[in-house]
């Protein structure tokens, strides 16, 4: 019996693959050749004839090497652009998160058109008036729910579902979260009177309360395993 692994290795390598993957491929091809050889011997061929036939029937080795390398390169390109974990996270976090940001942004924009109901403005004369769009708040649980549902449906874990639902509040936090400390320091240096209360209210109205509303809507989708909401799976 020939050493099929050695034969496959000699004809196939070098391949630009990880050593482990290359060995797996060689082992698999060697198994195939050995099965073919055994069948040919069973059919009455001599061992020498069976080896020659197996090698000639089995493969165009140049094409095989080229094709395997091509598949491996496609894999490398895919993994480089977005690795397996990245691809999963894209579906379970970034995509639903982008959806919740877009939805909340569109809702907020709609409420800012002239014919929309006016927002509630506290301390309108102040430098930092406190503006609340109640209608936006009412819709936020629905937005959070959509984000968490989408994430769960895509196989998202609990944290990913929560983050996907919270994207609008997180985005709002990033903006004032970065600007506010500088502004407060500036106000303290110039006026010795930083607007602490308005800043806190700003954070409350645009980050804390929206976050709470988003998570409230997401809450029902924190239960259950990833993918549980798929109707096909649920019906079986």
């Amino acid at each position: 019996m020939p050493d099929w692994r050695e034969i496959a290795r000699r004809r196939l390598t070098p391949l630009a693959l990880e050593a482990k993957r290359q060995e797996e491929i060689i082992a698999e091809l060697a198994d195939h050749l050995e099965d073919l050889y055994s069948d040919l011997v069973r059919q009455g061929k001599s061992e020498v004839e069976a080896v020659q036939s197996a090698l000639s029937i089995a493969a165009d080795w140049d094409e095989l090497r080229r094709e395997i390398q091509l598949v491996a390169n496609e894999e490398v390109i895919m993994n480089y652009s977005l690795g397996p974990a990245g691809k999963r996270r894209f579906k379970t976090l970034w995509l639903p998160g982008a959806c919740t940001i877009a939805l909340s942004g569109i809702l907020l924009r709609l409420l800012q058109i002239p014919s929309a109901p006016s927002p509630h403005v506290f301390w309108p004369q102040h430098d930092m008036p406190f503006i609340i769009y109640w209608q936006w708040f009412v819709c936020l649980p629905l937005v959070g729910g959509i984000g968490a549902y989408w994430s769960r449906h895509a196989g998202g874990k609990l944290l990913e579902r929560a983050l996907a639902a919270s994207f609008p509040a997180l985005a709002l936090m990033c903006f004032p979260g970065l600007i506010l400390p500088f502004m407060l320091v500036f106000q303290w240096i110039v006026h010795h009177n930083p607007p602490l209360v308005p800043s806190a209210l700003f954070l409350l109205g645009w980050v804390v309360l929206p976050e709470a509303a988003l998570l409230l809507g997401a809450l029902p989708f924190f239960r259950g395993d990833a993918g549980e909401s798929r109707p096909v799976v649920a019906s079986h």
Partner: protein, 116 residues
């Protein structure tokens, strides 16, 4: 013109090979040699695979999640890599069968080509 003919030919070949592999794996897990023999037997030798046509396609299908390969055994003293249908492959098989059925019906209407 020539390029598009080659392209169609390649696509038809790859498409039919994918359908053949998914179809035999729908009956249960098989290793590479069993896949090739099973297709050859069921098509009475009309479709046959060699290493170069089978394994790159299997690896490509595995990457798409259509099939999943796992080392099992030892069977007969050797560990073997068995392939089974993945969820994406099960989903793909139904429309693929339908598409090929439509193609054969269309060719039949056009040129009297019937199923083999």
């Amino acid at each position: 013109m020539n390029g598009s003919v080659v392209n169609i030919g390649t696509q038809v070949k790859r498409g039919s090979a994918e359908l053949a592999i998914l179809s035999v794996l729908a009956d249960g897990p098989l290793h590479g040699y069993q896949i090739a023999k099973s297709i050859e037997r069921q098509t009475r030798g009309l479709l046959s695979f060699n290493l170069a046509s089978l394994y790159p396609l299997l690896y490509r299908m595995e990457k798409r999640g259509w099939v999943k390969g796992t080392w099992e055994g030892p069977v007969g003293g050797r560990r073997r890599r068995y392939y089974r249908l993945g969820p994406a492959g099960k989903r793909r098989l139904v429309p693929l069968r339908e598409e090929w059925g439509q193609l054969f019906r269309a060719l039949n209407r056009l040129a009297g080509v019937t199923h083999a």
